[in-house]
Amino acid sequence: MFKWIHRFGSSPFVYRTANWLAPVFGIGAAVCILVGLYLGLVVAPADYEQGDSYRIIFVHVPSAWMSMFVYMVMATSSAVFLIWRMKLADIVAWASAPIGASFTLIALLTGAFWGKPMWGTYWIWDARLTSELLLLFIYLGYMALRSSIEQPQTAARAAAILAVVGVVNIPIIHFSVEWWNTLHQPATITKLDKPSMHISMLRPLLLMVAGFQLLYFHQLMVRVKTGILQREARTAWVAELVADNRV
């Protein structure tokens, strides 16, 4: 049933679609992020408790959200790859990993920058930041496993299993870290999440979330194109593309 997509023949179609979608997503992302940043950094008023430092949530919250979202995409496409051996699904998982890891790293760094004025220290073992750090390790493990197995087919299947195992584990890790945090942390610390938000702050935040989402899709399309070219380097249609200088 899924044979058609599993065939080499469908790759040119996917490649062309990705080629067409990449700039569309790219422009959408740029518009959302620029407008979002303007509304968030210039228009929105300063917070009466946190001053201007709260504005980092316009980057922190979308990237934290994307770090989870990208992992879900990765795990879902890995499962699809394992069940139906659909090569495109593996390319999506392969393409998503470094993007997701980057979002995770941005979430961690912005969390730390926010921590300095708020807590007086760059790092605090807050439940969210700790979960985010562990998520980064899981992303890095996925990429390390992929790069240390030479045979691409084996690497793909092993990495897919790891991604699926990870998705079962992430909620458990998250829950256990929350539990651990409530036991060890006095509850008085201001949390980075859920500030009661005024509409002037909510609007740029939602725009930034949409922008980051589109940014991910843009990056994904670019990397999917690369992935297809790498895997299909030996086929005639890629040779044609290269000959015509259209890559």
Binding site: Q151, Q153, A233, R234
Partner: protein
């Protein structure tokens, strides 16, 4: 279920088929659209120089490795649709013999019998026929290559109910007596209506006839 009928009905002769099996090893095409048809009662031989992909083809045929393109059929049904049914019928002796160095010949074979519903009570007589009964209680790691090979090959006699034999160089490291024993087992298996696919660099006994596929010149049907 169709699969059950196809494989359990003894009236249908068993057969193992490769349909356009293609395997890439990195950027090189190792197996190019291989077609192969191994029939019941025949010994199908795969010939080819070192590195021509014989071992890979055998591993794909028994389901240990996956083909990039193409399929393997057992009795007309794809292996991927009847894993367990096929595995019950399969006896594979690979490039690596599957003999644990820290276990004795008897211990190794006892487990092989448990895994494959073999006849455990026959182990001593089979080891005797293979002339390795006196060393059956020594960890296999201390045995010579030929003796270890014999331990692996003892499975041929212990799992006679299997219908599909896939043997990678079964004659390697064996002396004349050992080769005769293996040839005898294969002949009995063929007479029982079994399928045999093997690779070898040694000449097989004359009683064993069947098609020879060469991987040196590409096979296209």
């Amino acid at each position: 279920m169709i699969t059950d009928q196809a494989t359990n009905n003894e009236a249908v002769p068993h057969c193992l088929e490769a349909v356009d099996v293609t395997v890439w090893r990195g950027e090189t095409l190792l197996l190019d659209r291989i077609k192969l048809h191994a029939k019941a009662g025949e010994v199908t031989q795969i010939a080819g120089a070192n590195g021509s992909g014989k071992t890979t083809l055998l591993r794909v045929l028994c389901g240990a490795a996956l083909a990039d393109e193409g399929e393997v059929h057992w009795c007309g049904v794809s292996l991927s649709k009847q894993r367990d049914i096929f595995n019950e019928q399969l006896l594979h002796i690979g490039h690596r013999p599957g003999v644990h160095a820290q276990l004795t010949a008897v211990e190794n074979l006892q487990l092989a019998c448990k895994m494959g519903n073999g006849v455990e009570s026959d182990i001593d007589s089979v080891l005797n026929a293979l002339a390795i009964l006196p060393i059956a209680d020594i960890p296999a790691g201390h045995l010579s290559a030929g003796q270890q090979r014999r331990v692996a090959l003892a499975r041929l006699a212990l799992l006679p109910h299997t219908r599909c034999w896939v043997l990678d160089e079964p004659l390697t490291a064996l002396d004349q007596q050992g080769r005769d024993w293996v040839a005898g087992q294969i002949q009995m298996h063929s007479e029982r209506g079994g399928v045999t696919v093997l690779t070898t660099h040694q000449p097989l006994s004359k009683n064993l006839s069947g098609p020879i596929y060469s991987l040196d010149a590409p096979i296209h049907g």
